[in-house]
């Protein structure tokens, strides 16, 4: 019946492997966010072009970029 001892130790080792994998994934933050990655994976892989306009924002710094129309 010593085969039982071997089987049991193997089964516990396998289960322990899963436990370690679980602990690792929790610590790595795999369970921190269970929504965003599901959306992120649907985005296209081609990254949008790197920023070319360096002063795109400085428009916002101007006091009044809104053009008001007059009748």
């Amino acid at each position: 019946m010593s085969v039982l001892v071997i089987l049991i130790s193997v089964s516990i080792l396998v289960a322990g492997g899963f436990l370690v994998a679980f602990l690792w994934s929790v610590r790595k933050g795999q369970f921190d966010d269970d929504y965003t990655p599901s959306v992120r994976m649907l985005f296209d892989d081609t990254p949008p072009p790197a920023s070319r306009a360096t002063d795109s924002l400085s428009e916002a710094d101007k006091p009044s970029p809104v053009k008001t129309k007059h009748s």
């Binding site: 933050g29 929504y35 992120r40 949008p48 072009p49 920023s51 924002l57 916002a60």
Partner: protein
């Protein structure tokens, strides 16, 4: 007409176009989906305002138009242009230090809270920020927490520029010094998960190793295997006992130190007794012990807690006044303008407040005139004019151009913050984790100890060797596991059902408060009424379309909210035409006049239009008079627009026997309408200051000790009342926006379901009672074995999971059924139920 220095923005936050544009073609803004006309366009697409168009053009230039492909009209309406100096305080090193999480000179990491995040497009755009600004290296979102984590290169860009970019594209971060706690909470969550994982691992392996024992009815062929299994079980039980169950011991010990047997005490006792007895049995070779039951208890209890603790990550229920005020203010010193932190403001400082900024501290106005909106502080709808030398309270929103103020009281002592500084009358009560099952748990523990004692007495006479087995197995089998699980899962499922109806509760104990409510106090403005819409009627001989359009053209010239409401109403009624406007003059606080196509029109208060005595009929009564060529033509009555279904809700609540009260910060012009809706027995109070509201709730509770008060309010002006009621619900048109500290947040579209929510809360109590009876039955069965000292590990191992699982199934089904029967609204949209 002179262009105002600041961008005119209406009550709805929409940059105002001063032309009555042709409204004939209706379409949806390509960016944000607001219905609009074809007056603003680019690339064949149409926008509701220039703000939206600018964002579109910025994204288009940078090749980010994918934003519009992922979701239809994903954009956020840009709430008016921010003044260029609005984020200047982010250059202040002291403030930076508090916001930045990490920096090494080449990389700076910072995370923001963006309540506007609502769809896949938002995630996409925010994670591609680096395409919009060179210095940004990397950005990641956490959708449920509505957080954005940004890594940028401080050599190329600055914190202020990053925030300005976010604000420009419509995601103005909510910056406050007290959201530093979020990170610690996450660590706690991880530990909880690991505890469950460890308990699950050990439980399943212990079960596996116990099977031979169950089926060999106590006599295994090979004794060495039996020993091996027992010792393995013991080894596997150690992490469960010392690590996974540690939380129960801590909580029970805390309770005992305060001389209070909380619900964790009997669990901790059961775990402790089971473990020691099992260790004793195994070491002495007397039997296999009950380690399977013990680890099962721990696993189920931890899982139940996890289920209950999973609440709404993105809501904050504990905001105090600090969350509303800006972090930095501009102080004028002899050296010029300087940015200072808000806490450093002292009496006598001169502060500069810009348009659409909040006044940070009570101060005396130094500039000639300011138009301020007090709706946040007092609940009054109409903006007021303050002149040089008058006091402006903190919390007011500045509508006109930049002004300077001399601080008379530091922030912590200002009028509005006093609401919080008063001691909370129920502080203790609210902080202790009160739960409906606590008195029972105490009772339960005492009864259990009594039964164990009786069994011990019996066996002392009959057979003293059976005392120990009988007592310990009573304690093991009667663990309040199923009792506790029933409350946990009942309330957990009810929280979810409430959430589907857009009522988000802070925690499960609020359900219990709601179930006892018998008095309901409503705030009027913003709660019962729409915040930005109004009912308008015209008194006098009906207007001809030509007259109406001319009046609309005049109203369109002013940025006063009343004018805007009038304009929209007239346009909707009569359409538009093109008119030449000349000689336009606005008299703040009184009215406007202009010559429209040659006709001289005046619009404003009675005193202004008729030139007579102002009398009691000020502009505050919601009446706007109009005269054509000097002759009085009639009056517009601008009344509050009540939310649909308010009368039905009031009738339902009155029929349910609730006592109703309505408090309003406004004048009593609405008294008759409210009376009609709420019936004669409802108490109506007008002109209530925030302090009055708070005092009113306190008086209600003092006068009648049996009164359990539910307060529904919206703004900061209701914050004091929300705090000192038994259950305070903050009503909000956008649940992700900032609401005052409260027990629950209710989406305004579900306001009229309050009666059904309350009925549902009461039904929850019944479900808990039923499941309690059920779990008592299970306990009786188990105890009948235990007191006879005949509890085999097999019986314990079967009874324990069967009772737990059946109770969980029962309460989940019962609460879902009750929600359907009480017609609790279900609004299954992805954005807000998350």
């Amino acid at each position: 007409m002179a262009l105002p220095k600041t961008i005119p923005v209406t009550a709805a936050g929409r940059p105002l176009r001063t032309d009555p544009a042709p409204a004939s073609v209706k379409t949806q803004c390509f960016h944000c989906g607001t219905s609009c006309d074809h007056s603003i366009g680019a690339d064949g697409r149409y926008f509701c305002c220039d703000g939206c168009r600018f964002v579109y053009q910025l994204l288009q230039e940078n090749g980010l138009c994918n934003y519009y492909d992922l979701t239809q009209t994903p954009g956020i309406r840009v709430m008016g242009r921010f003044a260029s100096e609005k984020f200047a305080y982010l250059d202040h090193p002291e403030i930076q230090q508090q916001l930045i999480r990490f920096t090494d000179g080449r990389q700076t990491q910072v995370s923001f809270y963006l309540p506007q995040m609502h769809c896949a497009s938002c995630i996409w755009l925010l994670e591609n920020l680096r395409s919009l600004q060179p210095g940004i290296l990397h950005s990641t979102t956490h959708f449920q927490r509505k957080e954005l984590f940004v890594v940028f290169d401080p050599g190329q860009t600055t914190l202020r520029k990053v925030v300005e970019l976010l604000a420009f594209v419509g995601y103005e971060p909510y910056i406050s010094l007290d959201n530093a706690g979020a990170r610690r909470e996450r660590k706690v969550n991880r530990r909880q998960l690991i505890r469950i994982g460890v308990a699950g691992f050990c439980f399943s392996n212990i079960m596996m190793l116990s099977f031979p024992e169950y089926f060999s009815s106590g006599s295994m062929d090979l004794p060495y295997l039996r020993h091996l299994f027992s010792y393995l079980n013991l080894a596997l039980a150690l992490p469960v006992f010392f690590y996974s169950a540690a939380g129960f011991f801590e909580s029970a010990w805390k309770g005992l130190r305060q001389r209070w047997l909380n619900i964790d005490a009997p669990i901790a006792l059961a775990i402790l007794v089971t473990f020691t007895r099992s260790v004793y049995e195994i070491l002495s070779g007397a039997g296999p012990g009950y380690l399977d039951s013990m680890s099962g208890i721990v696993l189920f209890m931890l899982a139940g807690r996890w289920f209950q603790d999973k609440t709404y990550d993105s809501f904050s229920f504990d905001r105090d006044y600090k969350a509303y005020f800006p972090l930095g203010v501009t102080v004028i010193t002899s050296a010029g303008e300087q940015v200072a932190t808000i806490n450093s403001l002292a009496k006598g400082d001169q502060v500069l407040v810009r348009s659409r900024e909040m006044v940070p501290a009570d101060g005396i106005l130094q500039s000639p005139e300011a138009r301020v909106d007090y709706s946040f502080v007092s609940g009054e709808n109409t903006p007021v004019i303050r002149r040089r030398g008058e006091l402006i309270y903190a919390g007011a929103n500045l509508l006109s151009g930049a002004v300077t103020l001399e601080v008379v009281r530091p922030v912590s002592q200002s009028y509005i913050t006093q609401l919080w500084n008063q001691a909370d009358p129920r502080g203790d009560r609210k902080n202790t984790e009160k739960s409906f099952i606590h008195p029972w748990s105490r009772y339960f523990t005492l009864v259990l100890l009594g039964i164990a004692l009786l069994a011990a007495l019996y066996w002392w006479v009959a057979d003293p060797t059976q005392i120990l087995p009988a007592v310990t197995s009573s304690l093991i089998v009667a663990c309040p596991c199923s009792l506790l699980l029933s409350a946990t899962f009942t309330y957990g499922n009810m929280l979810r059902q409430f959430g589907r109806g857009h009522l988000y509760l802070k925690n499960a104990s609020v359900i219990e408060s709601l179930s006892r409510v018998n008095t309901i106090v409503f705030d009027k403005t913003g709660t019962l009424t729409h915040a930005t819409q109004a009912d308008i009627s015209f008194e006098g001989r009906p207007l001809e379309p030509g007259e109406a359009r001319a009046i609309a053209a005049l109203a369109a010239q002013s940025v006063h909210p009343m004018s805007r409401l009038l304009r929209d109403w007239l346009l909707a009624q009569h359409g538009t035409g093109n008119y030449s406007v000349s000689d336009f003059t606005e008299y703040p606080g009184h009215g406007t006049e202009a010559r429209i196509d040659g006709r001289f029109i005046r619009l404003g208060s009675r005193a202004f239009v008729t030139g007579g005595d102002s009398g009691p009929q000020g502009s505050g009564t919601g009446q706007v008079l109009v005269s054509l060529d000097g002759a009085l033509r009639g009056a517009f009555r601008v009344g509050n627009r009540y939310r649909d279904g308010v009368p039905e809700m009031a009738a339902g609540l009155l029929a349910g026997g609730y006592r109703l009260h309505v408090l309003s910060g406004d004048h009593d012009a609405e008294q008759d309408r409210l009376r009609k809706m709420f019936g004669p027995q409802t108490i109506l109070r007008f002109n209530q200051s925030p302090h009055d509201k708070r005092a009113y709730i306190e008086r209600l509770r003092d006068d009648d000790p049996s009164a359990v008060v539910l307060m529904l309010g919206d703004g900061l002006n209701d914050a004091g009342a929300l705090l000192c009621s038994d259950a305070g619900i903050a009503v909000s048109e956008h649940v992700s926006q900032f609401t005052p500290a409260s027990d629950a947040i209710l989406d305004s579209d579900s306001l009229t379901a309050v009666d059904r929510f309350l009925a549902y809360a009461r039904s929850g109590k019944r479900v808990v009672t039923q499941s309690f009876v059920l779990s008592i039955l299970y306990n009786l069965v188990g105890l009948s074995f235990a007191v006879r000292a005949a509890l085999s590990p097999l019986v314990a191992a079967i009874l324990m999971p069967v009772s737990s699982v059946s109770i969980v199934l029962f309460v989940t089904a019962a609460t879902s059924l009750a929600a359907r029967r009480r017609n609790v609204p279900r609004r299954d949209d992805a954005h807000t139920t998350l």
